[in-house]
Amino acid sequence: MTTPLTRRQRYEQRTKRRSFAIAAASTIVVLAAVVVLLPMTSGWQKVRHSFFDGSILRFSLGHMLGPFWYDVQIFLWCAPCILLGGLSLAFARNVRSPALFPLRLFSTIYTDVFRGVPMVLWITLIGFGVPGLLQSRNLGRAVIWGSVALIAAYSAYVGEVFRAGIESVHESQRAAARSLGMTSTQTMRHVILPQAIRRVVPPLMNDLVSLQKDVALISILGPVEVLRQAGIDKAKFFNFTPYVAAAVLFLCVSVPLTRTTDHLLQRERRRTGATAVR
C-alpha cells in the first residue's frame, strides 16, 4: 500500500471518484425532485393518508410479522421441491434414448400446460378441487394443496430454465467428456450440469423471487398469510397502508436475496473470468 501509485492507477482512481460523484449527485437530484414534486400534485394529501398513514403502518407491521413468517415457511419448503421438480423435467426433456420418448413427450406437455395457465387458476383448481375429492380435514389442508399447486406450476418454469442452461453448454464439451471415457450420466453430472447451473443462476433467482411473492396467492384458499392480513386490515380501516407494510416486508427478504446472488455471481465471474490467467 505504501508504494506510490502509477500514473495509470491515479487516473483510474480519479475516474472512479468522478463517476461515483456523478451517480450520487444524479440520485439526489431525482429523489429531491420526487420529494418536492410529489406533494405538489393535487391528490397527494389523500393518497398520503390512504397509503402512508404512520400509525396504521406501525400497527400493521407489528402484527404482520407472524403471517409473513408463514409466507417464508411456505417458500422455504416449496423452493427445494421446485428446484428438484424443475431439474427432473429438464432431464426428462433432454433424454436421447428413443425408448424414453414418452417421458420426453410427457415433460413437454406438462410444461406447456402448467406454464400456459395463470398461477391463480392452478391454486384455485388444485386447492379447492383435490380437497373436494378427499373430504378429509387433515389431508385436505389448504396449505398442502396450495403448496402442491405452486410446486407443480413453478417446476414447469424452472424446468425450462434448467433446460436452457443444459442446452447452452456446447456439444463439444459432451463430446470431449465422452471421449475421455465418461458415461452419459457421468458427463451430465460432472461436466454439463456444473456449467449449466452456474449459467442459469440469475434466471433461477428471478423465478425464486417471483415465487416468494406468489406464495401469497395461497391466501385464496383460506390461510391468513401476510397479503390476506393486509387485506383484512385494509377493510378494517378503509386504508391501503397495510398493503404498503406488506410490500416493505416482502422487500426486506427479496432485496437481500437478489443482492447476495449478484455478489456471489460477481465473485464467481472474477474467479473464473477469462482475465484470470494462471
Binding site: K16, F20, A23, A24, T27, I28, L31, V34, V35, G43, Q45, K46, V47, R48, H49, S50, F51, F52, D53, G54, S55, I56, L57, F59, F128, P131, G132, L134, Q135, S136, R137, G140, R141, A142, S219, I220, L221, G222, P223, V224, R228, G231, I232, K234, A235, K236, F237, F238, N239, F240, V248, V255, R259, D262, H263, Q266
Partner: protein
C-alpha cells in the same frame, strides 16, 4: 464492489425517504385525518356500547340544508371529546367490532327535505349514480340485476331516489369492487350500496348514511356437520370457522366467538362455501340474509342455516349503510330520504318483502 456499494447507497436513501414520509405523516396527522370532526368519533370498547344506542336515537340533528353544517359539526365535536383516543381504538377495535359499530351514525346530518337538497350535488345533474358489487348477491339484488328494482338493496335505492325527487329512469347503476369504493381519488358513484357495515374506523375515511338495515351474524354449516345445531356460542369453540375477507363476520369470529383454531379467510363467500363443502372448515359466518342466499341460492348442495347469533342489548348489530365520499354534501340528502322511509314504514315493508323469507324463524344461538 464499487457498483454494489453505490446501489446500497441509493437503496438506503430510498428507504430513508419512505420512512421520513411516514414519520412526518404521524407528526401532523391531524391535518389530513381530522378535517371532518366526525372523523374523531372513535367508539372504544368501553364507551361506545352504552353511548351509541342513546346517541343514534337522540343526537341526530335535524336541520335545513343551508344551516346544517355548523350545527352538526358542533354536535359531533361534543361527542368526539368524550370518545377514546384513536390509538386506543386502533388496538382494541379488532376485538370489539360489534360494540363499536354504529358509533358513527351519531349526530348524522339529516336534510329535512331530501327532494330540494340534492340539486347540483350529484355527479351528473338530474341523475342519481349508485354503485353496487360485481356481482351483486341475492337477496340484496336478485339475479345480479339492480336496475330491475328486485332485491332489497335495489328496492331501497329506488325508494331513496324517489324521496330525493328522482324518477326511476334517473337512477344510474355502476359496478365497483370493494377496493375501488374506498380508494382515494374521484369516485364513479354518488353512493355505494353493497352491504357495507358501519364501523368507527371506517367512518374516519368515508361517509356512511344512516343504516338501511340491521342484521345479525349467522352460521352456515353442512347438514351432517356436528355443529349443525349449536345450543350456544360456546359449542363453536372447537369449530374451524371461515369468513370472507374484510367482513364484520370475520371480526365477529376473532372478537366474539373466539374459536381455538385460527379462522380461514376467503376472497368471497363462494370460496368459503366451497371450503365448507370440501370439509376444510366446519362453518361459515355471514350476515343473516346472505346466509339464506348461500344455503338456498344453489351454491351449496347440502347447506344448512344453523342459526343466527344472539345480539346483546348493548350491541347495535351489523348496520348496513350507503358508502359515500368523505364530506359529500349528498350524505344529508340520502339521510333525509332514509329517515322519511324509516318513519313512514317503507324500509320495514321492503325488508319484509325481500328478506323476511330468509330471516324469519331462524333459530337464535345464545351467547355463553
Amino acid at each position: 464492489m464499487r457498483r454494489s456499494a453505490r446501489l446500497g447507497t441509493v437503496m438506503f436513501i430510498a428507504a430513508a425517504t419512505l420512512l421520513a414520509a411516514c414519520g412526518s405523516d404521524t407528526k401532523d396527522a391531524a391535518v389530513p385525518t381530522t378535517t371532518d370532526p366526525a372523523a374523531t368519533v372513535a367508539g372504544s370498547a368501553a364507551s361506545s356500547a352504552a353511548t351509541t344506542t342513546a346517541a343514534t336515537t337522540t343526537a341526530a340533528t335535524t336541520s335545513t340544508p343551508t344551516t346544517s353544517a355548523p350545527t352538526a359539526a358542533g354536535a359531533t365535536k361534543a361527542t368526539a371529546t368524550t370518545a377514546a383516543p384513536a390509538t386506543a381504538a386502533l388496538t382494541s377495535a379488532a376485538a370489539t367490532t360489534t360494540a363499536t359499530t354504529a358509533a358513527t351514525t351519531t349526530a348524522a346530518k339529516i336534510a329535512v327535505n331530501p327532494a330540494t337538497c340534492v340539486a347540483g350535488k350529484t355527479l351528473t345533474a338530474g341523475k342519481f349514480t349508485v354503485a353496487t358489487g360485481n356481482p351483486a348477491y341475492s337477496p340484496y339484488v336478485i339475479d345480479d340485476k339492480p336496475e330491475s328494482g328486485k332485491g332489497f338493496e335495489s328496492a331501497v335505492t329506488y325508494a331513496v331516489a324517489a324521496k330525493m325527487g328522482f324518477k326511476n329512469a334517473d337512477v344510474v347503476w355502476v359496478r365497483t369492487g370493494f377496493d375501488e369504493a374506498i380508494a382515494p381519488g374521484p369516485k364513479s358513484f354518488d353512493a355505494n350500496i353493497q352491504q357495507f357495515s358501519v364501523t368507527a374506523d371506517r367512518a374516519k375515511v368515508v361517509d356512511f348514511s344512516l343504516p338501511y338495515y340491521t342484521t345479525n351474524q349467522a352460521l352456515v354449516t353442512t347438514k351432517t356437520s356436528k355443529f349443525a345445531k349449536p345450543k350456544s356460542m360456546a359449542d363453536l369453540k372447537t369449530a374451524k370457522l371461515g369468513a370472507a375477507t374484510g367482513t364484520t363476520s370475520l371480526t365477529f369470529i376473532t372478537g366474539v366467538i373466539k374459536p381455538t383454531s385460527a379462522p380461514q379467510v376467503f376472497d368471497d363467500n363462494a370460496g368459503a362455501a366451497q371450503a365448507l363443502q370440501n370439509n376444510q372448515i366446519d362453518g361459515l359466518i355471514v350476515d343473516l340474509p346472505t346466509a339464506y342466499g348461500i344455503v338456498n341460492g344453489g351454491g351449496m348442495t347440502d347447506g344448512n342455516l344453523a342459526g343466527q347469533f344472539q345480539r346483546l342489548s348493548t350491541e347495535p348489530g351489523d348496520q348496513l349503510a350507503y358508502l359515500i365520499t368523505k364530506g359529500s354534501p349528498l350524505t344529508e340528502c340520502i339521510n333525509g330520504a332514509l329517515k322519511q322511509l324509516t318513519d313512514d314504514g317503507t324500509l320495514a315493508k321492503l325488508a319484509t318483502t325481500w328478506l323476511a323469507q330468509g330471516t324469519d324463524g331462524v333459530p337464535i344461538v345464545p351467547r355463553g
